[in-house]
Symmetry: C2
Subunit: 341 residues, 2 copies
């Protein structure tokens, strides 16, 4: 019931917004006198308080101006900004609360590049639970294109439905029938492999999600195999430090460890506790960042967040011009730079 | 009423989250068996559906794991991530829907730098209307620090109240008693002035908000005055293209125009309509970006979004270590690079 309320509320406010935006279009260059709050609420069949709330926001945002004792008017000079497309950003099911570096950075760089269209950007929060409700809720959001991150399998049918009404694109993953932008992660693995071999580090350990076994890990293996080194499956832990202690106690002494963002500091701590020298004998490697308080050097790769954003902005730009074009799946490469910091 | 519902809902979910996070702390290194859904809901005095929803999210986020037929358990390996501070990002009154480039980019770069703490980031949406309700709502949000953008005068007392309970910082503006990070905009104006004089452009026009009259504009004037040029007040339009046509028709032929983000394309169009040559005789200047479809060259300055983020992250880092330290107000300079693109 609460979800339904939130949804209804968003949708009523959106009606007001759309109404005002239409007026701005229809009366371009003219300060158009809006109907009264009551008339507007009656016309749209919504609560007066909701109409008032959204009009107040539109005044704050400069689309409308209130002249005391006279009424509310459109602001013609805001037309230019309005002509900018509205782009929605959706992370997962729209309900995530706190987010870690990778998704914050990926979303941020993409939003920034999209805004250079120029476009106006909204991060979408969803309240519905069921597939049909989610699709209806998404359809009710006023936007010209939807850019999605971290899509779960439950959201796939919702996005397919949404795609019938407006352009949808997925970033950093691929769903059939929906345009996407991805990084060539096998190439990323090759870059990691080359950097490790350049330092003569052949005894290496990865702590990553299953997903990377079929991508980054294979790239590292390519390079290692070409150089005559083997990379057994035991070198790959599934995004947890469980088992790391046992591995170290069994006599495995890695010359390099590439933990995931989530396991980075914990892995470092466990390695230290087992007297692994992280200053020289063993090198921590990451594509993310060096945590502020870490003393030991880290092999840092530049992850192409900005390029992700630029590639996505290009695809969205083409989709806005031609929403019906066939889904294109972009897989881009990056020329990685490494530093020991 | 709807606001109250949304607020209550968020707060009940937050109770569950805090409950689980506390368990993770108290039972570090242990897979702790959670009480049943019903017991948990009764204990917290919330709806069972709400408890269920949040537990489901915590399972998806990896903090909990559900063992079929046995129950729900904490995931000890998630402790590391949990130990990261939670940082809230607040734009304006937390109700903005669509946002333009400047605020998207500023927020994005700040969030990215904050996440490198490492920290978990939440963009906060607020539902309350009145000052007291807003303060209560903000207090109910589980975060270790609050980073605010675009603060309106109505939000100032709310932030002062919030500051009693956790660190608060404002970015790109200053409120007495609350730590802040700002750019030295007068220095930014000097950089703009020097770049214009280097191209012998002394007849210039600014279309900016009132705020910049006292900052950027004064910087340009510094440099122009030193070089023996005057910069009359008529060279400054208040963030609107209204009056631009009249100015051009009155015989004013600018050699450079620095429009705001919102007026950029409209100003360019009006200049073209008045046969002002934007390729050479008149130069458009911006600290933001060149719009995708613009043909003419633009004098582009690099705006220090990343440095804004780094400076903010540093202050937040110090506040997290010592929440009671006196409010510091950082004003930083930037070494601007210009390109004609």
């Amino acid at each position: 019931m609460i979800s339904a309320n939130s949804r209804k509320r968003d949708s009523a406010r959106m009606q007001v917004r759309r109404y005002v935006m239409d007026l701005l279009w229809q009366h371009a260059g003219e300060a158009y006198h809006l109907p009264s709050n009551k008339e507007l609420a009656d016309e749209l069949g919504i609560a007066r308080s909701t109409a008032q709330l959204e009009l107040k926001l539109l005044i704050e945002e400069g689309y409308l101006t209130a002249k005391h004792g006279v009424g509310t008017f459109t602001v013609p000079s805001k037309m230019q900004q309005f002509r900018a497309p509205l782009i929605g950003i959706l992370n997962g099911d729209g309900k995530t609360i706190y987010e870690p570096f990778y998704i914050v950075s990926l979303k941020s760089h993409t939003a920034t590049e999209l805004a250079k269209q120029p476009a106006l950007i909204q991060e979408i929060r969803l309240f519905s639970e069921r597939e049909n409700d989610l699709a209806t809720e998404l359809r009710g959001i006023d936007c010209n294109a939807l850019v999605c991150f971290n899509v779960s399998s439950a959201m796939e049918p919702v996005l397919r439905e949404t795609r019938k009404f407006r352009p949808v694109i997925t970033v950093d993953m691929r769903i059939d029938g929906i345009p996407s932008v991805e990084l060539d992660r096998r190439e990323k693995g090759r870059a990691l492999g080359r950097a490790l071999l350049a330092e003569n580090r052949t005894n290496v350990l990865f702590i990553q999600s299953e997903r990377y076994r079929a991508t980054t890990f294979l790239g590292v293996r390519d390079v290692f195999t070409e150089a005559g080194h083997t990379l057994p499956d035991e070198c790959f832990l599934l995004n947890t430090t469980e088992g790391l202690s046992e591995l170290l106690e069994s006599g495995f002494h890695p010359q390099a460890v590439a933990p995931s963002l989530e396991t980075f500091e914990e892995a470092a701590q466990i390695l230290r506790e087992h007297d692994i020298d992280l200053n020289e004998k063993c090198r921590l490697a990451t594509f993310m960042f060096k945590p502020r308080k870490m003393q030991e050097p880290v092999l840092l790769f530049d992850f192409p967040f900005e390029e992700f954003g630029r590639q996505t902005a290009k695809v969205v730009s083409r989709l806005l011009e031609n929403p019906d074009q066939e889904a294109e799946h972009i897989v881009f490469k990056h020329n990685y730079k490494t530093t020991v910091v």
